[in-house]
């Protein structure tokens, strides 16, 4: 688990959110990676994951319990048909939880 001193700035870091939106997987700028380290680096308890419900076609949002042996918690009614879209959705959720601000990018 990371303990970054960096606090994501909901205004100044907006271009980084746009960068992630445009290309969520692969080469990132160092500044975007710093934001991702914060958002991806949380503890296992409550961490967002995806659970495949139809191979190669459908995934459901879920959270880890963080406790060995305890079931993964499926988030009701949140499904994705595209993994990049899922990455963006989870990024948004974490951005908003971390900054307390709505992310004004769709």
């Amino acid at each position: 688990m990371l303990r970054s001193i960096y606090r994501v700035d909901p205004i100044r870091d907006l271009p980084l959110a746009q960068e992630f939106h445009d290309s969520p997987i692969g080469h990132h700028s160092a500044n975007l990676q710093r934001v991702l380290n914060v958002l991806r680096g949380g503890p296992l308890k409550g961490k967002y994951v995806l659970v495949c419900t139809i191979p190669h076609k459908k995934w459901q949002l879920a959270t880890l319990s963080g406790e060995r042996g305890k079931p993964v918690n499926l988030v009701p009614n949140i499904f994705f048909s595209d993994l990049k879209q899922a990455e963006w959705d989870i990024f948004r959720r974490r951005w908003e939880e971390h900054t307390g601000e709505i992310l004004p990018i769709t």
Binding site: G26, H28, Q33, R40, P55, E87, I90
Partner: protein, 746 residues
């Protein structure tokens, strides 16, 4: 969620062998077919699932029945009349408890659960050393010390019962007392009842909980080390307890019932009693041996040099060797089954299970090509919990973790055991892996979080079917052989093949396997290393029992856990464990390339280097343009250079005559240099900045017309089927295979 699971008694077969399938099924029935597996990738972007149903007398419908797995290690000593004669007695052991607060745990027990009779030296539910006595009437006496045990500290614990005075004493004595740290304790108090003899076994590290049919069940498993248990038929004074630590003094005491020395027969499943009574115990579920004991000074690190300092066994409540299921049906391998990967494919409801096995060639039927399936590596990753328990999984992969039903199943069903990438429930590393249990993640179609972003996401077994698929698409006949048979048979298994191909990730190698591959290479064999991070960790197979490997994650290397000092040497064969590079055998010296970096987001491509135009190596690039990007596509991360990648290094042992043909570039910064490649941390360890983060494609010749071709990338095989096999990854692989099959010298 995985209502059908199963395993077989064998991994590799030859015609004439019989293989037994054991099935757990929650449906009333299931359909079984024998299939030959050609491609196990269900990705619609890929070549698709390819299986051939084999006509077989065992195909059909079978009744479903549930079979449970009882994990947790312990030692059981058969009941003897001598144990019924105990009146006064003392029990003693050294313990290093790892989870003293987890609940009741047995240390030395002889307890009949059905009528509450006997004695048990335990940790109670408050974490205190306790003697439990029962007289069979329902009355139970518990004498506990007042202080709790602290985790990962050595204690001498001792309990005695004096039948004349009806006095119980319990001692909890930390070997390194710390001022203000209140864990030393002593209690002496009267006990009204007289413990009743019973016919339960004497058990270490658990309590017998009663019989289910003809099977004794065990519970209240102990987590941690136990060293030097003693059972004496007399209440002992403190001085006598301390003297009994010495196994000879204990054994010489005329009242000694048992004085067990766990440092004897280290690879065995026998707990040796050094007393004249020879109450040898049966060790169940392979708790970890060759573990530093209460008296390890640190001056010696190799247990074979002074086994007395390694008299501890580390028990775990989630150890598993043999699931012990009953057989549901058996198959005799007919001569008509040509060599290949096969499975008993089971279907019921929405569930599907594949109990795979291999068939090797019949005598005289050997083909020219062998694919050496890395089954030791399959076992290393079997039943991994990386998606749910890996603390850094998302950060490391730079991808949200995507879990499959089997990941959720394994998360909730720890009795199926973990992989060598997991830790036990007490945090200690899992260092033994067995195939005598369902390996539910090593199946066709099943994805893995290490398989790269999107696309096929396959790893190990399923990923290797990209190679079988390609061989069939190219029209080649091939034999399937396995690590396990290679270990058992040696060089002779390989010697007649014109070409031997590896799988995508042959990471775990026993000494015997390495020697065989090395001999093959040096006696004219032609090896195609079609993977990455190969020949990395040294393992041992158990010398006697089937289907069990051992690994010590000793110094350096990419380690999911770290072996403790003094615990780097195998219990199975006494050899030093850890990276092969640390035993003086680098992967570069064997195959020209060795593990350099890893990243699990997206893969990249190779470009040609100057060596690729030299006359000796031109054959590799027939039909490939000078400036082509090689493998800028693929089912594993979208490129042929990816996941775990290997580079050449003449200083690390790449042969001096090696051609470095191509090199990958533009890896993401998620790709990081492996820890053994840098002595000091400094900035710039990632793919964007570090000059060592790349895969190298290498070719070199060896004596007697032999040769090695290495791609240095796990993701390579994922590129083979791109655009209906019309691509430069397939072409290069084909060029090399064709040339290797041509007997002419290089």
């Amino acid at each position: 969620m995985l209502k059908i699971t199963g395993y077989a008694d064998r991994l590799y077969c030859r015609p004439g062998d019989t293989i037994a399938f054991k099935v757990n099924c929650e449906y009333p029935s299931y359909r079984a077919d024998i299939v030959r597996v050609i491609c196990g990738d269900s990705n619609p972007e890929g070549p698709g699932i390819k299986e051939q149903i084999i006509e077989s007398s065992v195909a059909g419908r079978y009744p479903g029945r549930q079979q449970a797995i009882h994990s947790g290690s312990y030692i059981t000593v058969q009941d003897r009349s001598l144990l019924h004669k105990l009146r006064s007695f003392a029990l003693q052991a050294f313990i290093w408890p790892t989870t003293p607060a987890k609940g009741r745990q047995g240390i030395i027990t002889k307890w009949a659960a059905d009528n509450g009779a006997g004695f048990a030296l335990i940790i109670d539910e408050h974490g205190r050393t306790t003697l439990q006595l029962g007289d069979g009437t329902g009355s139970i006496d518990l004498t506990s010390v007042e202080q709790v045990l602290q985790p990962r500290r050595w204690y001498r614990v001792c309990a005695s019962f004096d039948c004349e005075s009806r006095q119980v004493c319990v001692i909890q004595d930390p070997l390194e007392p710390v001022p203000g740290f209140a864990d030393r304790a002593f209690v002496s108090q009267p006990c009204a009842l007289m413990p009743l003899a019973n016919d339960a076994p004497l058990v270490f590290a658990a309590l017998a909980s009663g019989a289910e049919g003809n099977r004794t069940e065990f519970q209240e498993h102990f987590n941690g080390k136990i060293d030097s248990p003693r059972l004496i038929a007399r209440a002992l004074s403190q001085a006598e307890c301390v003297a009994a630590v010495n196994v000879q003094l204990a054994g010489n005491d005329p009242d000694c019932i048992g004085a067990w020395d766990f440092s004897i027969a280290m690879s065995s499943q026998i707990a040796h009693d050094s007393s004249p009574n020879r109450l040898h115990g049966q060790i169940v579920n392979f708790p970890t041996r060759a573990m530093t004991g209460w008296n390890w000074s640190g001056e010696k690190v190799e247990w074979t040099q002074d086994p007395d300092q390694w008299g501890a066994i580390h028990f775990h409540d989630d150890d598993l060797y043999d699931a012990g299921w009953d057989t549901d049906f058996q198959l005799e391998i007919s001569p008509a089954m040509k060599s290949g990967i096969y499975a008993a494919r089971l279907r019921g409801g929405d569930d599907e299970e594949y109990i795979w096995f291999t068939v090797g060639p019949a005598p005289g039927e050997r083909r020219q090509i062998a694919l050496l399936l890395p089954t030791a590596s399959y076992m290393a990753y079997a039943n991994d919990h990386l998606g749910t328990d890996g603390t850094g999984a998302e950060l490391l992969n730079n991808i949200v973790s995507v879990l499959s039903p089997h990941d959720l199943f394994l998360n909730e069903r720890w009795e199926y055991g973990g992989s060598l990438y997991d830790v036990h429930s007490d945090g200690s590393g899992i260092c033994y892996s067995s195939r005598l249990r369902p390996m539910v993640n090593m199946r066709p179609k099943r994805e893995n979080i290490l398989g790269g972003f999107g696309r096929s996401r396959l790893w190990q077994f399923a990923a290797d079917t990209h190679i079988t698929d390609w061989l069939e698409a190219m029209g080649y006949d091939y034999d399937i052989i396995t690590d396990e048979e290679l270990h058992d048979t040696g060089y002779q298994l390989l010697s007649d093949y014109r070409a031997v191909l590896t799988g995508t990730h042959p990471e775990y190698y026993s000494t015997e396997m390495w020697d065989a591959v090395s001999s093959y290479r040096d006696r004219g064999g032609r090896l195609m290393y079609l993977g990455g991070d190969g020949f990395y960790w040294r393992i041992a197979y158990h010398p006697e029992v089937p289907g069990l490997i051992e690994l010590r994650r000793a110094e350096s290397g990419v380690r999911a856990w770290a072996a403790m000092p003094g615990e780097y040497y195998h219990s199975f064969d006494g050899r030093q464990g850890g990276l092969w590079a640390r035993q003086g055998r680098t992967p570069q010296s064997l195959v020209g390339v060795g593990f350099a970096a890893q990243g699990f987001d997206i893969s990249s491509y190779y470009t040609r280097l100057a060596d690729s135009h030299k006359p000796g190596a031109e054959f590799v690039f027939q039909g490939i343009g000078a400036n082509d990007r090689i493998g800028d596509f693929g089912l594993i991360g979208g490129g042929a250079a990816g996941l775990e990648i290997d580079r050449s290094d003449f200083e690390l042992g790449t042969p001096p005559n090696a051609y470095v043909l191509a090199r990958s570039e533009r890896h993401t910064d998620t790709y990081l240099l492996v820890p053994e490649e840098f002595l000091e941390t400094s900035p710039g360890l990632g793919g964007h900045e570090n000059g060592k983060v790349h895969a190298d494609m290498v070719f070199f010749t060896t004596q007697r017309g032999g040769a090695v071709f290495s791609v240095g990338s796990i993701a390579w095989a994922g590129g083979l089927s791109h655009d209906a096999y019309r691509n430069n990854v397939s072409r290069i692989t084909l060029n090399v295979l064709r040339r290797f099959l041509d007997e002419r010298e290089f």
